[in-house]
């Protein structure tokens, strides 16, 4: 069983966070800026990489749950740092430590499949849809397929 510090170390290694030159290209490309009004250095990919390197308690940090796990930051990074892999490994560590306050749990299979702030963003965008459509957001995509299959066969 890996300890939490091992996992943070692994996250730094997997994502190549040591190579970060803090240019801020990932911040410019990050879709979170469009999604959240409170987008700041606390939440931005550059800020997260910095916090991880400086040894802040990132696993307990709420800000790791705002990421959409997109590929935009990695695409533009001159050093090839994958902020997505960093966030994903940190989230894995948080899930392993049962820190699920900000994770969306699938209502069918009970698996944490997405981050709550991201879900809330989609829910806000779809607020004009009828409730039985929005209800589907609480099921993970594979369970949603099961529901769809059950209804249609």
């Amino acid at each position: 069983m890996k300890s939490r510090s091992d996992k943070i170390e692994e996250a730094k290694r997997v994502s190549g966070a040591y190579g970060c030159v803090e240019c801020g290209r990932c911040v410019a490309a990050c879709p979170m800026a469009e999604m959240y009004a409170n987008f700041s250095i606390e939440m931005s990919p550059r800020g997260m990489i910095k916090k991880t390197l400086l040894g802040y308690p990132v696993v307990e940090d709420k800000n790791i749950w705002y990421c959409t796990e997109c590929n935009a930051g990695t695409d533009v990074c001159p050093q090839g740092v994958s902020c997505r892999d960093l966030i994903r490994t940190l989230r894995g560590a948080a899930v392993a430590d049962n820190l699920l306050a900000n994770a969306q749990i699938c209502k069918c299979c009970g698996r944490p499949f997405a981050a709550l702030p991201v879900e809330n963003f989609i829910r806000g965008r779809l607020k004009e849809e009828p409730p039985n459509v929005r209800e589907l957001l609480t099921a993970c995509p594979s369970c949603r397929r099961e529901i769809y299959l059950k209804r249609n066969t």
């Binding site: 009828p130 039985n132 397929r145 769809y148 249609n152």
Partner: protein, 435 residues
């Protein structure tokens, strides 16, 4: 010295940089439906071979990797049936508002595409899709989306059992034109040419009368006249044969309501405490009871159909004071479509009772249509009896024939021929299990 720039000049707001395109309604779009392409799936024919997945992934990713395909065949182990999940190219796609970078757009040809220039592969569209259509490639974690191979889908071409069919829907909606002309002709006939014939008409041995009026006549006079019953039977017989065809195609007041509906496209909504379709049976009972108590045909004096038909022709069209009831009740149309017919009309109530002996029914086979991504039938239904929520869940809605006015708008509008007329006793295919 340079002036400081306005905040508006520096705006990086996405609404300013890339505003959403707004669909314009054109006149040609009203007469000719937009023929949006779509792949229909037939669960009866699918064997689950997975050829579609392979050919799709070969086109999308240049290698045969079925999991990366934009079409996925799922198998239900209990029923042994297969189901292909693929992008429905919804009429109002949920992925478009969910996308934070506005990379997804629905083209004027109806195909929903992802602009790779703006896509960040974040996968929020996958989370918003109600069908969980395959978007995110589990291998490369990139977003691929079905674009119908730009109008020539390979999966349809290569399906060995022809379970997938590519369709563009109907080209021409002919029932619409037929219904409007029949309505206009019967309005002219009943209101202008043969004045008052709807309420009561007798020529030699042929007699015709309004069934609700006949009931009130019996109640007020206390005498049952066989001629009266047999003359009312004509309309009741038509109802047994073809449902409430009268309401949708012949009723002159219904024609007025449909015209008023055309000029009031925005509906205010009907108060929920008045939302009982049983009200019209109460109105019928009140009309008959009132006629018995008062000794004359109480409701007939205010009946909108009757006042229209008895308005003494074109010359004195505006002279008749009782005609004021027509615009008063037609103004209910701003609340809901055909509000009068839905909740109050006692003539419709008599015909509704007669539909318990009906011969035909309307079925909507949800298994053969686009379900949540279309729901045009529920939108066009003037009586509001097609359950959009059930359609969203993929269930064939049961259509209450006592409420259906047989206007056939649903048949006309459905691009995929999922709405059909069937005999009442006819066993429909399992995919059309709505009765």
């Amino acid at each position: 010295m340079q002036e400081p720039m306005n905040e508006g000049d520096l705006s990086l707001d996405i609404n300013v940089l890339r505003p959403r395109s707004v669909e314009k309604k054109t006149l040609s779009g009203y007469f000719m439906p937009p023929r949006h392409p779509f792949i229909l799936f037939d669960p009866q024919k699918c064997t689950g071979c997975g050829t579609c997945e392979m050919i799709c992934s070969a086109r999308n990713t240049n290698r045969v990797a079925p999991l990366s395909a934009s079409v996925q065949v799922l198998a239900d182990e209990r029923s042994g049936k297969n189901l292909a999940i693929l992008c429905q190219h919804c009429r109002q796609p949920l992925c478009i508002p969910a996308c934070p970078t506005r990379a997804i757009e629905k083209g004027s040809d109806g195909i929903v595409r992802i602009n790779k220039l703006f896509c960040t592969d974040c996968g929020l569209c996958t989370m918003a899709c109600p069908a969980a259509a395959p978007l995110k490639d589990p291998d490369s974690r990139e977003i691929h989306k079905c674009d119908l191979c730009e109008g020539d889908p390979l999966c349809v071409k290569h399906c060995p059992e022809t379970a997938l069919t590519f369709t563009r829907g109907k080209a021409f909606r002919w029932i619409k034109g037929l219904r409007w002309s029949v309505q206009a002709i019967s309005f002219a006939m009943l209101v202008i040419v043969f004045i008052g014939t709807f309420c009561y008409f007798k020529a030699g041995n042929v007699a015709f009368s309004c069934p609700a009026g006949t009931l009130q006549n019996i109640a007020s006079s206390g005498a049952i006249v066989l001629v009266g019953i047999s003359s009312a039977a004509a309309l009741l017989f038509l109802t047994i044969l073809a449902g409430r065809l009268f309401c949708g195609w012949i009723c002159p007041f219904g024609f007025v309501l449909d015209l008023v509906d055309k000029i009031t496209p925005k509906k205010l909504g009907w108060p929920s405490f008045l939302k009982s379709r049983m009200t019209k049976y109460g109105v019928l009972a009140g009309a008959v009871g009132g006629s018995y108590a008062l000794g004359f045909q109480a409701f007939c004096t205010v009946c909108p159909i009757g006042t229209l038909c008895r308005s003494y022709g074109v010359q004195s069209f505006f002279k008749s004071a009782e005609l004021a009831i027509v615009p008063a009740l037609a103004s209910l149309e701003i609340a809901q479509r055909r509000s009068w017919c839905r909740y109050f009309c006692p003539v419709g109530a008599v015909l509704g009772i007669m539909t318990t002996l009906r011969l035909i029914k309307i079925v909507i086979g949800a298994k053969k249509c686009k379900k949540f991504s279309c729901i045009q039938c529920a939108e066009v239904c003037p009586m509001g009896i097609i359950d959009a929520d059930q359609l969203r869940e993929g269930i064939s809605p049961r259509i209450p024939m006592t409420e259906c006015i047989m206007c056939l708008r649903c048949l006309d509008r459905c691009p995929y021929d999922a709405a059909k007329i069937r005999f009442r006793w006819q066993r429909t295919a399992p995919e059309e299990d709505g009765r």
